[in-house]
Amino acid sequence: MKDIVIEPWLVDETTHEFFIPEYMIQLAEEVLKNYDLSVQNMQIVTTKPDKGGAIWKLETKSGPKSLKLLHRRPTRSLFSLGAQEYLVEVRKARVPPIVKTKDGKSYVEAGGKLWFVAEWIEPLTPVTKDLEGARKLCYALGEFHRLSKGYVPPKQAEMASRLHKWPKNYEKMITKMGWFRNIAKYYPEMPASPPLLEVVDRFEEQARKGMERFLQSSYVEFVKQGTAHWGLVHQDYGWSNGQMGADGMWIIDLDGVAFDLPIRDLRKLISGTMADLYKWDATWVREMILAYHEANPITPELYELLMIDLAMPNEFYKNMKEVVYEPEIFLNEQTAQLIQTIVETDQSKWPVLAEIENDWKGVG
């Protein structure tokens, strides 16, 4: 067992929903021997076959727990585990406490990856998909960001920071607009190519304008304030990783946390929610930002950057970037339809952004 290295595995129509290779089940059992838990039942609840990650739910005499196999590099996982520990132990945040091994460690290394056990929080229910739910989500996110400040990763951990990467991400977006155009140009016979060619200029222009505004923003000053000042972003926050518990909102699945400007999470939550609504709504956006602001105040400078980030063609980019993989499949009728929807939703974005643009003027 010692030399096994966990690799991504293949799934196809012959494998069941939560299939994982046999050796991993054995590894999981080995890992559990490090814990003082009497496990009555063990059930796999999530798999990441393409990356080599998994989550089990454990029923134990001391209540339900989760066992997680983290797919990232061990040194990267250490960063996230340290954060989870800091949030629970130092900041008393509502994130699942980590269960220690028999010898007091917070993880086990097996198969070249880190595993850990945490409390399974019950009950947890998703918030309602309405403005009130959105407000709760945003407040909880702000709280999470505020409490994460001051985290110092353990010495052996990799430094996970995206704070410096904003310009690169924006540049990448602009570059890829060119890729989308070229792919559509060289695959003219595909149904989604003509609509893609028709709209790509507009979205590229949005990205370029966004970049110009970004370069005028206070970003450089923000970076100078350093990672500890800003705290962590969750990176995968949404309607399922923030849920209501008995005593308030809990935040789960922290394995992707990294240092960054916190509004990144907020922006993703807002633009994703607007996409779900198929149109932008000024009331929602305002209320979401305000709810966040109550928990983790946003300065006018940061608000400006949030506006810039919201104005980027995030949804178009997110949905089109797959095109490079198999253009002969991707550029089908369905994608043509999707482009149409994205364009319509995007049209409702601009009046909303114009309306809320000056909300923070003179605040602070």
Partner: protein, 523 residues
């Protein structure tokens, strides 16, 4: 001196898996190890022992891959072993931890890319690191200038040492040793009767091969029988295809010109693809430090089209060994420059020959090594100057005995190596029985084989010329230290940035800006 060379945490030395820094290190080792007792500290690899001594060079390998882990191991090693000088490759973040572990060692640093950028190293740490090292050598003026703009105080410590290439391994396709290889490769890949454009490098947005692919439709209108060969290791990888690789593949599929992709080519076979090609194109979109492939293309006698990005243009003598694309984001600029060369057969031939000549006269490892040796020697003196200043100020610092001795004895080749050095030029006649001697003997013979003898004599002449004209001739002991150094008083050094043969527009400017001083005091 006892010298420790600290590699990066990414790839092992020798460069089994390639890598520019690793290639650089193994290129200079045979030369620098003749003068100093060298230990190379790098990362472990399953196919390499943790410790070994080859040709007098000690290799120590510790777990790495992740910087933090590597740093810990490096510090532990440095704490347990004493060195006179520690040379760190491309990791300014190792400077302070190593300084703590080795308070007395002299330190030098070589920079191969942008590791001094604020997102790579905290400015405070960078400032402290710069203060700790005696010299920072860079692979191009571009890299030096970037560091200078971020940290002006580094300016007097900066010194460009261009990298090198093994011109006996990278050979033109018409060289007797390469003709068969060239023909075999071309036959195997359907490239017979084609004009082969070569790209070699990582498939990434920064390296920009997509721009070259997009230039193909335009080129196909002007030239028949073109083919593009892409030597890029990450083309076929199944698991981890990046968006970029996917994009390039999708484009290549629809081109009017065949695009041959090689997948991973072992570093020791890469020269075969250079020999099979007719024109080399470097498509860097980013501010490239100065891609090694330029030297390799020159040695292989290929005309070069490269981009006006970073250090790349520093090795291109326009219209002599290649052309520079001023707008690398525009595929038609590539099409123009490529067409310009392809439509003039005699220009194409002349450029290739010029490249080959430059590789032999300027971009060879011995020159790289001798420049680095010179830096080390100067570094040794600087520390002494500091000590003496402090002594003058009444501080009680015991002068190290070793230092005192070394002050008297100029660094000379290690006793056992000295003979080999002298025998090198006449290696064919030498009776040296060591492996090292044999290797050199074989090399010397192959040099005679390759019908370039006249050119090499010329090259040798060029090599020594700067020494003759050196303004401050501290006679280099072997006549191989071609770069003259001048030193200002105290801890301020000014380096004459390059030998005369090196000058291009950037350097000419740098030289113009450089003030010359002579040594104010030598103890």
């Amino acid at each position: 001196m006892r010298i420790l060379m600290v590699c990066t945490e990414k790839l092992p030395v020798p460069p089994l898996l390639g890598g520019a820094i690793q290639t650089y290190i193994s290129g200079i080792l045979p030369h620098v190890s003749q003068f100093h007792d060298i230990t190379v500290l790098g990362i472990s690899d399953s196919s390499l022992p943790e410790q070994e001594t080859i040709h007098g060079v000690h290799y120590v390998r510790v777990p790495g891959k992740i910087f933090e882990i590597y740093r810990e191991n490096v510090v532990r090693y440095v704490e347990a072993n004493k060195f006179d000088l520690i040379h760190i490759f491309n990791r300014p973040r190792l400077v302070l931890p190593i300084r703590q572990a080795a308070p007395d060692a002299k330190m030098t640093l070589s920079m191969h890319n942008d590791m001094f950028q604020p997102e790579k190293i905290d400015p405070e740490e960078a400032t402290a690191a710069i203060a700790e090292v005696a010299y920072i050598v860079t692979v191009s003026d571009y890299i030096g200038n970037v560091i200078r703009s971020l940290y002006p105080q580094a300016s007097p410590k900066l010194h460009t040492i261009y990298s090198g290439v093994d011109s006996e391994r990278f050979l033109p396709g018409n060289h007797p040793k390469m003709q068969k290889i060239r023909n075999d490769i071309r036959r195997a890949h359907g490239l017979e009767n084609k004009t082969v454009i070569l790209f070699a490098g990582r498939l990434s947005r920064n390296k920009g091969v997509d721009k070259l692919i997009l230039a193909l439709p335009e080129l196909a209108k002007k030239f028949k029988n073109l083919a593009l060969v892409i030597v890029g290791s990450n083309w076929f990888s199944e698991n981890d295809i990046t968006d970029y690789v996917a994009y390039v593949r999708a484009l290549a599929k629809r081109m009017p010109v065949p695009v041959v992709t090689t997948g991973f080519v072992p570093p020791n076979e890469i020269q075969n693809w250079f020999a099979a090609a007719d024109l080399f194109v470097c498509t860097s979109q980013w501010q490239e430090p100065l891609a090694r492939v330029h030297y390799e293309a020159m040695a292989a006698g290929l005309p070069i089209v490269t981009t006006a990005r970073g250090g790349n243009p520093e090795v291109i003598f326009a219209n002599e060994n290649g052309l520079i694309v001023e707008n690398p984001e525009d595929p038609s600029d590539f099409a123009d420059k490529i067409a310009q060369i392809l439509s003039d057969q005699s220009l194409m031939r002349r450029m290739g020959e010029k490249g080959r000549q430059l590789a032999g006269s300027m971009y060879h490892w011995e020159r790289v090594a001798s420049e680095l040796l010179e830096v080390w020697e100067q570094a040794e003196k600087i520390e002494q100057a500091v000590v003496s200043e402090e002594q003058a100020a009444g501080m009680t610092i015991e002068p190290l005995k070793e230092d005192a001795t070394e002050q008297l004895n100029r660094p000379t080749p290690k006793a056992d190596a000295k003979e080999k050095v002298h025998s090198k030029k006449n290696a064919a006649a030498s009776s040296d029985k060591t492996k090292k001697g044999k290797a050199k003997k074989e090399r010397a013979i192959s040099m005679e084989d390759n019908q370039q003898t006249a050119k090499q004599k010329e090259a040798a002449a060029e090599r020594t010329e700067p020494v003759k004209s050196a303004p401050a001739p501290k006679q280099p002991q072997t006549g191989r230290h071609i770069k003259p150094f001048t030193i200002t008083s105290g801890n301020q050094q000014t380096l004459d940035a390059s030998p005369k043969t090196h000058l291009n527009r950037n350097q000419a400017q740098a030289k113009h800006d450089t003030k010359h001083f002579t040594i104010a005091s030598s103890h």
